[in-house]
Amino acid sequence: MSTHPNPQQHQPPVLEARSIAKAFGPVEVLTDISLTIQPGEVHAIIGENGAGKSTLMKLLSGHLQPTRGSVAMDGEDVHLAGPVDAEHRGLVLVHQEILLAPHLTVAQNIFMGRELKRGLMVNDREMNRLAAEAVRKLGADIDPTTPVSRLSIARRQLVQIARALQVPHRVVIFDEPTASLTPIETEALLKVIRNLRDQNVAVLYISHRLPEVAAIADRITVLRDGKLIATRNASELQPVDMAKLMVGRDMSKLYPEREETATRETILEVTNFDVPDYARGASFSLRKGEILGFAGLIGAGRTELLEGIVGLRAGQGQVKLNGKPVRFHGVRDSMAAGIVYLSEDRKGKGLLLAQNLRTNLTLASLEKFTKGPLIERKREEQGLDKAIAEFDIRARRRDLLAGQLSGGNQQKLLLAKMMLLDPSIVIIDEPTRGIDIGTKEQIYKFIADLAKSGKSVIVISSEMQELIGICHRILVMRSSRIVGEVTGEAMTEDEIVVYATGVKTNEAELYAAGSA
């Protein structure tokens, strides 16, 4: 349906970048970018992490000032003094990060800073009504009096979008809005964007997810290394072509050749495992050399189930490792037993962002680098050398802090950190979230190599394509339960979605399993 090539070409573009460039110190991160956005079009900006997308967005929304070039609105140069100034001109940026006050309600957040008043008092009733309406427009049903802290990340994202759209807007910039959304929520958001377009609003859309871009964009601009590679009509670009332009090479081999590395030997067997509030009666087994996927919507309980199994949160049930019953009281126990868990929350739970690479690398296995109580710095440095080479961690300098690495390099560092524990089972939660395509490919290859070397891997992911691309078998969770298993030919996106959304769950089977 995206046949809106350059609508209303006769109008001046509502927003325009004119040979815009931005340098931080001596480093130029954006060079001579020129692009236009017409009213009533969705213009997508794609590119790998570090390509300069976010910087471009910040320049266009007044958060940053260009070093060269200018921003124009309606054909005339404008100086955007800051985000507030930009908003006054009808330019709204929906941030990628969630910027809400967790203890305030949905309505209070949506109207923060522009509360409706009745006399001296805030008009809560009216704000609640309008907030509910704004959220409903986005295809969600959230009680406006709920504190934001009780919402899932995906719903917080929707509240944030609702908040941004409260400002009278002519141009809306979405910075990776679907990063934490499930397919259904994504679909709802795309509908909202189509609505905006139909109301003649100009939409600038940044995303990693190429199928989504193909579905929504009228025109697509590709950035690579701070330079504009191409601007094309969406109808001329297939996702494969987009990827090729983004990385500058053929990406048809994103996933490694699938090899039947799974043996018959069961290494981990979980029976009737419960994690209060998150998982009920979960049973599954993992074979040596197998890559097992966990699919499901956000909030289905995948992360919590596996965190429960490794002892990161309270859980109950039988866990057998190599046929022997085990019980992990804390994550140290499971690490000692050869199971490692890599959190989806790399920045919050995986790495110490304010510490250097060496400290992060050896944190979980410090005893391997000590003599008595003493840490041997030299061996740590050697370990870092090895990790940098083995995992292709690209750091400008060795003494960088973990927080200064790109998302992809952070993930590689986290992998290196956990692999130092020499595990036989590796659980990776959202292995490629927020990671550029080039690094994704490396991570997939790495996971395949792990399986080839006889280790077992569990991958939790919301990217169904990636699970289908690398897993031998996929379990689907919905509402705290494992509701389906797909293997071989049946591993298709459609098949997973019907399980994940409950369209196909054999309810009778489910009840039988529940009462067993």
Binding site: L312, G330, V331, R332, M335, Y341, S343, D345, G348, K349, G350, L351, L352, L353, A354, Q355, T359, T362, L363, A364, L366, E367, T370, P373, L374, I375, R394, A395, R396, R397, D399, K417
Partner: protein, 336 residues
């Protein structure tokens, strides 16, 4: 992706200069500035006797603040150290007065062990309540601050607890007044505590765990670190440091009073913070802390030696210093 090597020596040097972590160096620069200022205000400031005297007097706070560096780097806070010092001093003197063991020297040695035991125990209480009870350390140590102080007042019957035996006093006094190779004993003790503290914090896996817990508790937990154990241990170290400070303090006056250690917690935290340790945790600087304790004492000394600011305003000046230190830290961090 990787940077090219600097092409010229000049650029290499400039980069090296930019590499120096200013937050680590700033306290020492400030100390140097204070020295120059002091010398300008009154030449007698720079005299060896005066300087050694100042260092000796800073020893209580310096020693306690080394412990506080551990607590604060791990993301905690201990407001009870002043009261704890009074309690440890009181119990130590009561023990010495009991003359339970023959031989003054043995008695004294056992007294030191008792003091350290009481300090470690008081610290363990703080650590256990904050971690097991999951209560903000600010609240817990506010509570124990009142408890330790009150118990001391009760033990002293509202007055003071003094060492009875003059022999014992004479035997103990050199720990504060004595010198060894030209340096006062308390200064040696600061050096020893500093060395030991720096060794533990920078060279051992426990020290690494302290920084990890202070940096991000979740990351530490997901990395298999016993977060509670590490946290609690920092409070025990704090308690032991308080006890060591008491061992230096008691021979000075030979008594503990209801006001012993009053406001030491504020001075210790000030020393830690102006020394470059982050109050939110994750960064610990032992030598910066000791430097901070010196600065606090030197400022007081300069004010006494000068005529243009009343020494009654010492507290105000120290307050200004901590705020300036934080502002400097923030600007330096932003640059980096």
């Amino acid at each position: 992706m990787t940077d090219t090597q600097p092409t010229t020596d000049a650029r290499g040097f400039a980069r090296k200069l930019a590499d120096i972590d200013m937050t680590a160096v700033a306290p020492f620069l400030a100390l140097a500035v204070l020295f120059i200022l002091g010398a300008l205000v009154n030449p007698s400031f720079i005299g060896v006797d005066n300087i050694l005297n100042v260092l000796t007097r800073s020893s209580f706070i310096a020693i306690i603040a080394v412990g506080a560096t551990f607590v604060i780097s791990a993301g905690g806070l201990d407001l009870s150290v002043g009261s704890m010092a009074a309690l440890v001093a009181g119990i130590m003197i009561l023990f010495l007065n009991s003359a339970a063991i023959d031989g003054n020297l043995t008695m004294l040695a056992v007294g030191v062990v008792v003091a350290i035991g009481v300090g470690a125990g008081a610290g363990l209480i703080n650590g256990a309540v904050t971690t097991i009870g999951r209560i903000e350390p600010f609240i817990v140590t506010l509570g124990t601050m009142a408890i330790y102080r009150s118990v001391t007042v009760w033990l002293a019957n509202g007055g003071s607890i003094a060492m009875k035996s003059n022999d014992m006093r004479n035997l103990f006094r050199p720990v504060y007044t004595g010198t060894f190779i030209g340096l006062p004993i308390p200064v040696w003790i600061i050096i020893a505590v500093g060395l030991l503290g720096a060794f533990i914090l920078y060279k051992t896996s426990f020290g690494r765990h302290v920084i990890a817990v202070g940096s991000n508790e979740d990351v530490a937990r997901y990395s298999g670190i016993h977060v509670n154990r590490v946290r609690a241990m920092t409070y025990v170290i704090q308690g032991i440091c308080v006890a060591i400070a008491v061992v230096v303090y008691v021979p000075r006056l030979g008594a503990a009073t209801t006001t012993t250690g009053m406001l030491w917690e504020l001075q210790a935290i000030t020393a830690v913070v102006i020394g470059g340790t982050a109050l939110k945790g994750g960064v610990g600087r032992i030598w910066g802390t000791i430097c901070g304790a010196f600065m606090l004492e030197i400022v007081g000394n300069i004010m006494v030696l000068s005529n243009f600011v009343s020494e009654y305003l010492i507290g105000a000046v120290q307050g200004v210093i901590i705020i300036i230190a934080m502002l400097v830290q923030r600007t330096l961090q932003r640059k980096g």
